[in-house]
Amino acid sequence: MSISTPLKTRRPARSLPSFDLPGPKRRPSWSMSKTVVNGVLLLATLYMLLPLLWLVTAAAKNTGDLLGGRTLTPDRWHLGQNLADLASTGHGIYFRWYLNSLLYAGVGAALCAFICVAAGYAFHVYGFPGKERLFGLVLLGVLVPTTALALPMYLLASKAGVVNTFWAVFLPSLVNPFGVYLARVFCGGYVPGEVLEAARVDGASELRTFWSIGLRMVMPGFVTIFLFQFTAIWNNFFLPLVMLSDTTLFPVSLGLYSWNTQTRAFPEYYPLVVTGSLLAIVPLVVAFIALQRFWKAGLTAGSVK
């Protein structure tokens, strides 16, 4: 499948012998600058990865070793114990939060991506009066600081009686103006007009054409928007903090925060917070490693245009 082709076509033959190497006469400095370049990259990588490595080792420590800053050795391995504690604390509330997060982020991101692709497809395919003005409104929506909306949204939700419910967190997470923008860019790259015209000639209705042709063709864009929205919802902290007080509705982020505020009084929560944090980043790390070409395509489409 040539998913990333459309966004890559601009620099073909990247693998040819590199042209920006100095000529032979500068050969002596060549290996040194190569060492410097890769050395700097390696240092940056260490800065990025070592905190994650610390999290992995810290998750296997008990309270005393964690707070005492003792090095992890095999005889101090408590990962199993920490996981068992995680499962038993508050009748397994942590895994309840985990499921909530999966629900908010999984279902929310899928629906959001679908809504964005539908709108982006309509913007790409159809001409109608006021179209560019409407699209300008979408672009303005990208600029709105979302946290500034959380409070008025809370007040509206409390008037509507949906504060402290699933919907209060779920509905706002379906809106992503930047996703509509990305979807329009992706439709420009993946949905050729000729194909749609052919479907029309064959008598397919407009919606049918969208559903069975447009959506299929722009699937890579769909996955990209899904991935970014999944991350955004999984990481969202402010909105649930404002909207929810019922702990059984918490997503993982808010749950870990509430545990963290208790660590002062109850130090035994420290390993729970650390181990819980490690478990909470696993799905995202796996998704980003598995779906590399999608997020790279997404960031390319968003910026190069």
Binding site: P152, P177, S205, N235, S253
Partner: protein, 328 residues
Amino acid sequence: MVAPAPQGVTSPAARPARPRRARRPQWAWRPRRARPGAPALLLLPFFVLFTVCTLIPIGNAVYLSLYREERSGLGFGGVERVFAGLGNYASALEDSAFRDGFLNLALYCLLYIPLMTGFSLLLALLLDSALARAKRFFQLALFLPHAVPGIIAALIWMYLYTPGVSPVIGALDAAGLQADVLGAPVPAVVNIALWEWTGYNLIIFFAALQAIPREVLEASVVDGAGPLRTALSIKVPLIRPSLAMVGLFTVIGSLQLFTEPMILHGAAPGVVTTWTPNMYAYTAAFERNDYGLAAAASVLLALAAAALSFLVTRFSGGRSTEAKGTEA
């Protein structure tokens, strides 16, 4: 910026004779007899949600910021909503805690935005140079912190800042350096944000660098430019639209600073509950129950974001946003 890529895929070279007027496919303009309702139906879900979750809250925030709630009698008579004009704005701006919050935020932005942009641009240029090895590995490894939720990133770094827990502080101690990171909240928060966002923006820059046409770079080499010269005089100017976009999103994101200081609050004595304007609004709403004041603070913050993003697009290559609107 003109981006030929998607076209390159969708419009095969099989029809070169047709004049390529606009970027827009020509059939899009053909009057459509079939179901005028279809585009409306496709656009409807987004715009309904956009109205409910963005436009109405904005209107509501502005409305709330103009009113004050007053308790009549001894608090038994319920609350009454009184028009306050710009009173809430005045009391927010007169509150030194709110101004301090903006000051902290300004310091944070002055430190974070240049550092992050410079860092990610430098790394992207290094990664784009012919000297770099294992590019795929570096891309993934450098991007990975972005997959970590902000709250967890803040938690990790809070532990790494805490003396006794942190191996970093321990090592510095052993080397005779007394590092009191938690005593300096602004750099502490900047570091967390750098860790979270450098890799993300690096990938944006790297993607833009990879899209620079090869001939341009070859020409500069033929003209005798060295790698450094090529990077500064050719590559960086050519990815200006990406720089503008990253600048824009970074400004909007930075102004909303909330999660990281919220986690450090408690661990770092300097981080009070009103440490950023966003924290101020949150505290005003949920601890003081003063919704008018909170709304006014939110509106002021949004206005600051609007003003700054206007400046960014104006001065760092406004072409990119223009292109977004007209071409995409």
